[in-house]
């Protein structure tokens, strides 16, 4: 099957001379048709640069970019069958909402009646019926986001690129939009490339995730694979909370040279099944759970405990337990 988008050894550099920065470093990546793929990474990791190279706004220094099997490495944005939802939405302030949505059709020379009919249909789809006459400035952030989405979808692109589209929305609205985006992607069946630094967003929405750091892809896999079996320390630390054990404590507690132990997989032992004992140094309240930090012979281990019943106080001696399967070994010399 032809990949919807394929990056082959793609690199990108900014600046010149001593200030030169390699934003993307020889990345290989293939997006399958119809999948919801998320590039997850911290700010400055190169995830937005990847999206911009696929959109055609930034040209790579090396490598090839194929869209639907066609080499588009050096094509300008207007020649590529992909559309983008920008982080700041980039709605045209001098046009009405309907004109914004119909922009791609106007550029292609579609007749006015047809343009308006299709723009209104898309506005219905993103649940903004009847707002076509408004200006972007008269809309709320969430509404603008939907307009940007409708505008990017009107050309029926093979691939939709979304650059942290939910970043500016408040938490409740963001969660609602996450669900809607996912449902929309399923019903349209087009490939979504979603950029975010929010691990929760990535885990809950994606078919597959690519974790990127310092211009390199650290791991590509399903959300479950990324979370349960991270390939590197960076992935283990960046996605979810993590106890990273090294050296002597790692060998003593897990039998591996280095290992990952998720806090929610650790519980309080009741006598016979204790794997470690130590002193509580800190207790943080999160509502649904408590994060208890325990000093186990020099290693600090966090455990997420259900916030019910008798709970340990700082200074208390506790015994911890976990299943053997909760331990994920890591390479000792991994980054």
């Amino acid at each position: 099957m032809t990949a919807a988008v394929a990056l082959e050894r793609v690199s990108c550099e900014f600046g010149s001379g001593p200030n030169r920065v390699r934003a993307v470093d020889a990345i290989d990546l293939a997006l399958e048709p119809g999948e919801f793929f998320t590039l997850l990474g911290p700010s400055g990791s190169g995830k937005t640069t990847c999206l911009r190279m696929i959109g055609g706004f930034t040209l790579p220094a090396a490598g090839r970019i194929l869209i639907g099997g066609v080499d588009m490495t050096m094509q300008p944005p207007y020649a590529r069958p992909v559309n983008t939802v920008f982080q700041d939405y980039a709605l045209f302030p001098h046009m009405t909402v309907r004109e914004n949505v119909a922009y791609a059709l106007m550029v292609r020379g579609t007749g006015k009646a047809e343009r308006e009919r299709r723009a209104d249909a898309l506005l219905d789809m993103v649940r903004l019926p009847g707002l076509g006459e408004r200006r972007p400035a008269q809309l709320s952030g969430g509404q603008r986001q939907r307009v940007a989405l409708a505008r990017a979808l009107i050309n029926q692109p093979q691939v939709l690129l979304l650059d942290e589209p939910l970043g500016a929305l408040d938490l409740k609205l963001r969660e609602q939009m996450q669900g809607e985006l996912k449902a929309l992607q399923k019903s349209l069946g087009i490939t979504f490339l979603f950029i975010t630094h929010d691990q929760h967003e990535a885990l809950s929405m994606s078919d597959r995730i690519g974790v990127i750091d310092r211009g390199r892809l650290e791991q590509v896999g399903t959300p479950r694979a990324i979370y349960d079996t991270p390939a590197t320390r960076f992935v283990a630390r960046f996605v979810g909370a993590a106890n990273l054990l090294d050296g002597e404590p790692a060998r003593r507690l897990t039998g591996h040279a280095a290992a990952l132990l998720r806090p929610e997989r650790i519980g309080l032992a009741n006598g016979h099944d204790a794997r470690a004992t130590g002193t509580v140094t800190d207790v943080q309240y999160y509502g649904a759970f408590l994060r208890v930090t325990v000093d186990v012979g020099g290693a600090r281990i966090s455990a997420d405990l259900a916030a019910a019943g008798a709970l340990p106080e700082p200074g208390a001696q506790v015994a911890l337990r976990w299943d053997a399967g909760a331990v994920h070994p890591l390479a000792a010399d991994a980054r």
């Binding site: 959109g55 055609g56 706004f57 300008p76 944005p77 207007y78 992909v82 559309n83 983008t84 920008f86 982080q87 700041d88 980039a90 709605l91 045209f92 302030p93 001098h94 922009y103 791609a104 106007m106 550029v107 292609r108 505008r151 990017a152 050309n155």
Partner: protein
């Protein structure tokens, strides 16, 4: 473990300045009033006052024998404006102002676009200096310098001759209406000098308008299939339009009111500014000068109404 933090005690004695600050902080309207009264007084008394005096004078007339202003309301001055000779002056000036404005947009837009989108840091500062450098020297010096440049034996005709383009210059000067004896004695020369003088006033507002367009809008336009020329027409131009309007109001009204340039460079035909200057200075006919100077005000007012109707201020 508790860390002992100590704060210095709050100051107890306040000076007069501090009390004034506190008072103004609590009553922001008072502060606003204090800040606005001086400019409003200035604007009201000197600007609006003189404008109304001008307007009133336009309805008076001059006693033809004594040369004194007769303070009786009359429309005689406005009837005189409609005489062919005066209409001719008004029409010539407005045409010149319109052409100078068009040429300034044509020359200024690419410069403004380059400055706004393709320069940063030191290059941008250099561009600002280059655009504004002419404004650092006296206007009169520059106008007389142009007279020398454009003279029959001047640098421009010398350069044309060196480039074997003397025939082109002669052909331009042989044109009816705009041509003349030499560039410095032709409406063509007047036009060139006007464009030179007012170009910075066109470049800067356009540059500011283009700079305010987020680059993501241009990327979005390209992303949606628009080639660069379509992005220019559908996004850059409409959003730069307020800058073009602001710049054109400057170049248009500056040309309408100028009386030095056509006097130094050009054939001896008159422009509005010259007539106003002659009428109130040489002829002492202040009422007629006042009536004539209302022409640019009315024309600029009409022009503002026109650009507003074109939607120039919608994007503000």
């Amino acid at each position: 473990m508790a860390v002992a933090l100590t704060w210095p005690p709050p100051p107890t004695r306040f000076g007069l300045l501090r009390r004034v600050s506190d008072r103004l902080y609590r009553t922001p309207r008072l502060l606003l009033a204090l800040l606005l009264v001086p400019p409003l007084l200035w604007f009201g008394v000197f600007y609006l006052g003189s404008l109304f005096t001008l307007l009133a004078n336009a309805f008076f007339q001059i006693d033809e024998y004594s040369g004194r202003v007769v303070r009786e309301l009359t429309l005689k001055n406005f009837a005189a404006l409609a005489e062919p000779a005066n209409l001719d002056v008004a029409l010539r000036t407005v045409t010149m102002a319109a052409l100078v404005t068009l040429a300034s947009v044509g020359l200024g837009f690419p410069v403004a676009h380059y400055m706004a989108r393709h320069t940063s840091g030191a290059t941008k500062a250099l561009c600002y200096i280059a655009v504004m450098l002419p404004l650092w020297s006296s206007y009169l010096v520059r106008v007389y310098a142009w007279k020398l440049l454009l003279a029959k034996e001047g640098a421009v005709s010398w350069l044309a001759a060196q480039l074997h383009l003397g025939w082109l210059l002669d052909a331009l000067l042989a044109l009816p209406v705009v041509g003349g004896n030499s560039l410095s004695f032709s409406p063509l020369g007047t036009f060139v000098v006007f464009v030179y003088l007012w170009l910075p006033f066109m470049i800067l507002p356009i540059q500011a308008a283009i700079e305010r367009i987020p680059s993501s809008l241009l990327e979005a336009s390209g992303d949606l299939g628009a080639a660069p020329h379509e992005t220019f027409r559908s996004v850059i131009l409409p959003l730069a339009w307020p800058g073009v309007a602001a710049g054109s109001i400057l170049t248009f009204s500056l040309t309408l009111g100028d009386y030095i340039v056509p006097q130094v460079i050009g054939d001896s035909t008159l422009f509005i500014g010259q007539v106003v200057s002659l009428q109130q200075g040489v002829a002492g006919n202040i009422p007629f000068a006042a009536a004539f100077s209302l022409v640019p005000i009315v024309v600029v007012g009409a022009y503002l109404w026109f650009v507003k109707r074109q939607g120039a201020f919608d994007a503000l």
